[in-house]
Structures are given as C-alpha cells and as structure tokens.
Amino acid sequence: MAFVPHTASDVSQMLATIGAGSIDALFDEIPANLRVGGLPGIPPALSEMQISRLMERRAGQDAIELNFIGAGAYEHHIPAAVWQIATRGEFYSAYTPYQAEASQGTLQLIYEYQTMISGLTGLPISNASLYDGASALAEAVLMAVRANRRSKSRRILLPRSVNPRYRSVTRAIVASQGIELIELDFDAATGRMDPAALKAYEGQDITAVVVPQPNFFGVLEEADALTDWAHAQGAQVIAVVNPVSLALLKPPGEWGEAGADMVVGDGQPLGAPLSSGGPYFGFMCCRKEHARQMPGRIVGRTIDADGKPGFVLTLQAREQHIRRSKATSNICTNQGLVVTAATIHMALLGPEGLERVAASSMANTQQLAERLTAAGFELAFSGERFHEVAIRLGQDARGVLARMADHGVLGGYALGEDYAGMDDVVLVCATETKTSEDLDTYVNALQASV
C-alpha cells in the first residue's frame, strides 16, 4: 500500500491495543447505508515509474519553443538555486509557522520577504502574501472599504486598463458586499486611462481608485496625477503593479504628493514558473495606520524569554481562526512555498540584477516593436510602455496566433478575448529571456502567419 508503513503485525498489535476486532470496526459509527464499497471510477494504482512516464509524455506534448505571451504571467530566468533550496524538505514539507520556535526558518524568510516587497513598493507594511494578484486586488478593494472610514459610498473606480481577469475576480469576490465597481474607459490612442472618464466623478464620494502601472496593455499610466486626483476626492489609491517593473518605475509609495495607499500585484515574475497559471502569489502592502485592516498573515520580529530576537506570526486577532465571522478576510493560507522561492530569487538578483532584468525586458520589447513596425505592423497604442506592446495585425488575431503556434512560436494574447473592437490586436511580451535571433524568429513567424 503506497505510503502506508503498517505491517500485518503492526495492525494486529494496534487493534489489540484499541480493543477492536478489525480496521473495519473502527468505522462502526458511520451509518451502514452510507458506506461505499469501493471507488471503481478511480483507475488502479500506478508505480512511480509508470506515472513518471505518463507525466513526461504529457509534459513533452505541451512543450513549446518560444513563448511571447505575457498578459499577467511572465517568463523570466529563474536561478537553479531558487527551487533547489525552496524544495528542501524543511521548507517544502513544513506547516504554517504557528509554532514559532519550531519555524524560525520560514518566519525569518517571510520577514525578509516583507522587507523586500515593502522596499520595492515603497509602502511600509507587507503581509506574508495572498493567493495571487487578481484575488489580492479583490482583497484590497474590501480593505479599502474598511480603511477609508470617511467614505460611505463603497464605490470603487476600476479602469478597464486593469487586467480583465483581475476585474472578473474582484467582481466575484466582492459580489455580496454592497460594493459598486465602476469601470472607467481608456483612451483609444494612448492606451491609458482616459482623463475625461474621471471628470464625471469629480467631487463625488469615491472609496478608492485602482491604478494599474503598467496597465494590462503594458502602457504606463499617469500615476502621479491619478493619485493626487483620487486623494483630492477623499478616495484611497490602490496600485496594481508588476514587481519587476518597480526596479525602474516609481514605487507606488512615492506616487503624487502622498503616495498610493495600498499596492497589490502578482509575484509570479519573481521566481515562479509560468506553470499553467499557478501557484503564484499576490503581494499586498499598505500604510502603517492600516496594518490592522490587512488580510492574511503577517510576520513580526520580537524577542523570546531570553531576550533573543526572533520572529512570530503577529496581529493574528485580525484573522479568521481568532476573529471568525468578524475577521478581515476568510483567508487562511499564504502562498508560502512560492514566497520562499521569490525571496531567494530576489536575494540572488539584488538591486542591480532586478534592474537588468527589467531593463532587458523593456529593451527587448522595444526592439520587437521596432522590428514589427519596420515590417509594416502598427502599434495599437502610443503611450510609454514597460515590457508589453499591443500590435494591430489587420485581421483576426486568434487565427494568426494559431498559425504562429504551428511555427513553434506562441505569439501573444488576443486582446479581442476581452475588449470589443480589438479583434485584430495582439499583446506581445519579450522578456530578458529572448535573444535578438528570437525576435527575428517572431517577426518571421508573424509574417508567415498573416
């Protein structure tokens, strides 16, 4: 029996100690009519050799040569050390660090993570991570409603330039909270939030404004101006950012006069493999005065009985296992293992490494955009970009992408999936993983596919 160590003699000794005649007798409190005899729908057991062969075949079947899709999940080099250390049994198979004395490894690591993320975003309080960037935005919206006590409206301005998936998830999660999510349009020329769209809300009670930077199209928003506008309305600012971009871009904590109030985003670009969409992690930072409104775990430094410093989970009174129906969120887990990887990843890159990754990604995408315009394609938006660019193909993007895949190139994300009138636009990303030859391969594959 896989993973069950019991020998026949163990079983009989244990039953004798219990005073039961059989293992089956241990289930005698379950009403007999509810018992099932077996699970015929489950296939027979495989050996590790058999499942390995099956999985290798299936993984190989999905392998692709060159990936230029971004749209919320980005391919970066992940140092070999990252997952070799993160999957050490002591990290991989440890539980949530509730018993602090037996969990100083995980706890110190999270404290270091919080420090790193807080430093990147420019806001002082970070939690130990949430599920992913999308759900982190939802939690930020809920948190803004708790934190902005002056606002009664529960109205959130949510630009359409925010990742459509983030908007869907936010809608689903805040659905029952009486919160109004107001979508704001973007400027069709620049690809950034339309200043005209804001005018309508001037002087109104707005609880929070969401500001993506870069936005879903890779375009940079006027974050300073938006932040100041929001604060002028008494609204809080929730920044949604790509953490790699923060090596080059102004941190949300420094936006405008007073800085954003909360920042969330997906930590995937910091060491998580693309892995079909997860596990990634959501990060969240806030101002000191809102720490107690934060959802999720937080690690704090303290001292022990001998006065020696160490780390514990803190502010647990916010959490569901203490506060139950009055908790800040029902969230229980963080994405510990991915945070472990991300912390190691960030330490390996250091400030200069992260800047180089960001700059190379930006430069590669710029290069690609130039080669594509030289080849006669048109950019969809004129705004400054980070490392994604929307390209007009002049025909339905989905068909083009399917043909490019046959050339071994995943050509990008079809914006028509989410935006009416953009059926011919593809969103393309070229990170630091791409060489100049890769960019040529892209251009050739695209030309062969239109």
């Binding site: 069950v4 160590p5 163990d10 000794q13 005073g19 241990l26 009403p31 699970l39 015929p40 495989l46 590790e48 099956l54 999985m55 993984a59 692709i64 899709i69 999940a73 002591e90 991989y92 198979s93 539980y95 602090a100 004395e101 037996a102 404290y111 270091e112 919080q114 430093g119 990147l120 599920y131 998936r165 998830v169 689903a172 659905a175 102004k250 941190p251 420094e254 693309l274 892995s275 079909s276 969409g277 997860g278 704090g300 430094r301 001998d306 020696k308 160490g310 514990v312 506060r323 139950r324 129906s325 969120s329 029902n330 229980c332 887990t333 510990g336 890159l349 400030p351 190379s360 895949a405």
Partner: protein, 487 residues
C-alpha cells in the same frame, strides 16, 4: 542574521542577471524610480548558505513527526514535486492555446473526474486556490442558487460552534449572517438547537464530517433531511476528508457542495503555509454555478469551459485557473494511490488515531470524547492538569518540541478547554507513535513533578518562548537598514 545584514554595496550574484545593462528606452522622469531598489547585495554563495541554514531552523514532515490535528501532515511524495516541475508543465503559459495544452488538460480533466468519484459529487471545479477560497466558492454558489430561484429571504448560514474559523468568516464574506449552534456532549451537533435554528431564513449549513472534534456526525442523514426540507443547502468542509476516503462520500450523505483541501487529503506540500488548493464539488442542482474555468472533453480533445458555457457561474476566483502546479501534484498522488490505495488512507489514518488515542489514555491523558471512536484525529484535554498543576495545553505543546515532535493543534476547537487536537495520519509508523506516547508520558510526569520546566519550554530550539504581545504592540514587520542589529 538577516540577509540584509549580509549585504555589501556592489556585491552581486553575477551569473543570475543579464551580464550587461540593456539599452532600455529612456522614460520620462515622472515614471522613473528615484530611490534605490532596497534588495540585499549578496553573492550566490551567501544566498545559498543563508537560506540553507534558515531551512534547518524549521521542523517539517521530512524531519519530524507532525501530529497536527485538522492539518493532515502526511508524507509528501517527492515524485509529485519533480513531475509537476517537468519543463513542459513548468513552462506552459496559462494562455497557451488548447492545441498546445492537451497534456496538461488531460491531467486536470482526470483529476476532476477522480475527485467526483471520491466525493460523490456531480461536477468539480479546480480553480479555488485554497480551502478558504473553496469555502467562499461553495457559499457563493449557495447564494447564487437561491438568487437564481428568486428565493431572496435566506439570509442565514448555520455553523456549529466547533467549526473552523474560516466557516463563519466565509459566510460573512458572502453576505450572510452566521447562526452558531452548539455541539452536544458526545461531539455531535445539538439537534434541538439545530431544529430551533432552521427556518425560512436558512440559506444553508456548513458542516465538517467527521467534525472538528474528531468524531463522525452520526445523524448526518437526519440533518440533511431537516435542512433540505427547510429549503436550505448543505455545505461540506472537506478538511477531514482523509478520514473517510473510499468509505463514505459527502454526496451520498446529502451534501450539495463540498470543498476539498488537496494539500491535506492528497498530500500536496504545505510549504510553510501554502500554496493550497481548494477544489469544489457540487450536486446536480449547483452544476450551473461552479467557478470558472473548468475542463471538458470533446471527443478526444480537452477544452476549457468559460463564461460563455456557464453563464450562471459565480465567476472567477483566480487570475488563470487556480494553483495548477499544486493540482498536478495532487493528480500524481491520486494516481499513485489508485483505486486500491484510496480507502487505505482512511483505514490507516483511523487506525493510527485510535491507537494513539488508546495509548495516550493508557498513560493518563483525558480524552475530550472518551465514549466515541476517533476518526483520523481525536482530542485530549488538559483541563485537569491546568487546574491541578497549573500547566496549559500550550506548555505541553512547547515541551513536545524539545522531544523532537511538532506540537498537535492547540486550543482548537475552542469549545474544549486546554485541548490538543491530534492527527497522526496514515503515513506514520507504529514506532513513531510509540515514541510520541513515550514523550507525552514523560511530559505528563514532568507536569506533576516539575511544572515550572514545562512552563519554560522549549529549551533546545533556536529560540525560547516568544513575547507575542510585544510583537503586536511594537509592530516590526520589515527591517530598516539603520537598525543594524542582528536578528
């Protein structure tokens, strides 16, 4: 020492970033970062040594017995990790076209099918990223169901007092009021209180069965009938599914919706706090409402079902399709167990729990529900020791660490005073359980003869007991360079 304290200006792990600075387009100044990027400047060896050493300060299943009640800390097969991390899976972009995703999708489809078989439910969505998100999905579906019928007066969710904190928190997040009902002295739901609580305002009930007090709720059929007759739905918290795998199925008990903690029952790693995976399963009537996306099979091809296919869905809960890498690990684990292995999980986790319960009673501990069978876990209470010797459940838990055992779950469920909730899981051997009993017996003796020793524990770990009040009061959640002091 913190990684930041190892930092020296200009030190780098050179190989890990592009070797030269790329000519990125110059951005207008208003977009540019002015402050330094405050990451540590360290070498590759610094990083490897620092985090390798840190890891060694953790307890873990791979190094220690971890009898944490309600957490199912079983062995995490290493193959699950290496197969989920195969390059073809690790590098698959979530937006890769279906044509280049059939290998991955085959695994996910089969996982959905296996979870349906195991739970007796009619449709499964894998997208929730943790147990709590699964709960959210479940209760949101209950809400969506009543709304779809125009049945808008149902404002209450009934929750037993022994429930996990996530249950009431979730009900609140879904806009319901929580109605708590007590547990009777044998560990079952108090039926009188339940009858009194049920009414036209009842949207549903959230139950864990086996319950969090470590016993099987014997009147589950009666409860299901009661709720259903009142027009409510039954939600099953799958935290304890390990105890009944292949023995009894939530669908057969009458539940309408269930979440499963794949990181418990199907042994994906806890990873120091996550990621989890909280797949949900539903009965026939909730099928239209499951969170998206799910995977269907069309002839020989797997395809995604999305908003177009299931317009009544409660929507999306994750940016893509949940914690796919975790799901792959669970898939591998289930295939390794197979048809034969599934019921063994319930059998041997139950055998281990009942054995450990019998042994601990033998050496002098008090059981919370001595008249009941243990399921895969059970509770001892230190009420007597607290009164007689001034020793708490926390003291025993901390002292256990000195013996090389992780502590059981303490102070949960809240209704049992000074309790330890103990779950050995099926992957631990009799010898390990016996060694644990021996340590517990020694501690019991210490509690009589030297209670001070227990109150001062632990003694053998990197730290003694922490000042948690200080942690919350003098909040220090990020290192500031100027402090300069060692941690």
């Amino acid at each position: 020492m913190l990684i930041f304290e190892r930092s020296r200006p200009g030190r780098r792990a050179t190989s890990q970033a592009p070797l030269s600075r790329a000519e990125a387009p110059e951005l207008p100044e208003r977009f540019q970062r002015r402050s330094a990027v405050p990451l540590p400047e360290v070498s590759e060896l610094d990083v490897v040594r620092h985090y390798t050493r840190l890891s060694r300060k953790n307890f873990s299943i791979d190094t220690h017995f971890y009898p944490l009640g309600s957490c199912t800390m079983k062995y995490n097969p290493r193959a699950c990790n290496s197969l989920a991390m195969l390059p073809g899976f690790a590098r698959r972009h979530p937006h890769a076209p279906e044509s280049h995703s059939q290998g991955f999708m085959a695994c996910m489809y089969e996982l959905q099918e296996m979870l349906m078989e195991v739970t007796g439910m009619k449709r499964v969505s894998l997208t929730p990223m943790a147990g709590a998100q699964g709960e959210f999905a479940g209760v949101a579906m209950i809400r969506a169901y009543h709304q779809s019928r125009g049945d808008t007066g149902r404002t209450e969710i009934i929750v037993p007092d022994a429930a996990h904190g996530t249950n009431p928190a979730t009900a609140t997040m879904c806009g319901f009021n929580v109605r708590e009902i007590p547990t009777d002295e044998t560990g079952d739901v108090n039926m009188d209180a339940l009858r009194e609580a049920v009414g036209p305002q009842t949207a549903g009930i959230m139950l864990t069965n086996p319950s969090t007090v470590g016993v099987f709720e014997r009147r589950i059929a009666e409860i299901a009938a009661l709720i259903h007759e009142a027009g409510g739905l039954l939600y099953y918290d799958g935290a304890n599914l390990n105890a009944i795998l292949g023995k009894v199925r939530p669908g057969d008990m009458g539940f309408d919706v269930i979440h499963m903690n794949l990181h418990k029952t199907f042994s994906t790693p806890h990873g120091g706090g996550g990621p989890g995976a909280g797949a949900v399963g539903v009965s026939e009537r909730l099928k239209p409402f499951v969170p998206l996306p799910i995977i269907d099979k069309n002839g020989e091809n797997y395809c995604w079902l999305t908003e177009k296919d299931l317009p009544q869905s409660i929507g999306r809960l994750s940016g893509f399709a949940g914690n796919a890498g975790v799901l792959l690990r669970a898939y591998v684990y289930m295939r390794l167990l197979g048809r034969e292995g599934m019921p063994r999980v319930a059998e041997f986790s139950t055998l281990n729990a009942n054995y450990l319960m019998a042994r601990l009673r033998e050496v002098g501990f008090d059981l919370a529900f001595p008249q009941r069978r243990a399921t895969h876990e059970f509770i001892i209470t230190l009420k007597r020791q607290a009164k007689e010797d001034g020793v708490t459940a926390m003291d025993v838990a901390k002292r256990l660490l000195d013996f090389g055992f992780h502590a059981p779950t303490t102070y949960f469920p809240l209704l049992v005073p000074e309790c330890l909730l103990i779950e050995p899981t099926e992957t631990e051997s009799k010898e390990t359980l016996d060694a644990f009993v021996e340590a517990m017996a020694t501690i019991l003796e210490e509690s009589r003869n030297d209670p001070e020793k227990l109150r001062g524990a632990p003694y053998t770990l990197p730290n003694r007991r922490f000042d948690e009040v200080r942690a919350a009061k003098e909040l220090d959640v990020a290192w500031a360079a100027q402090e300069g002091e060692n941690a």
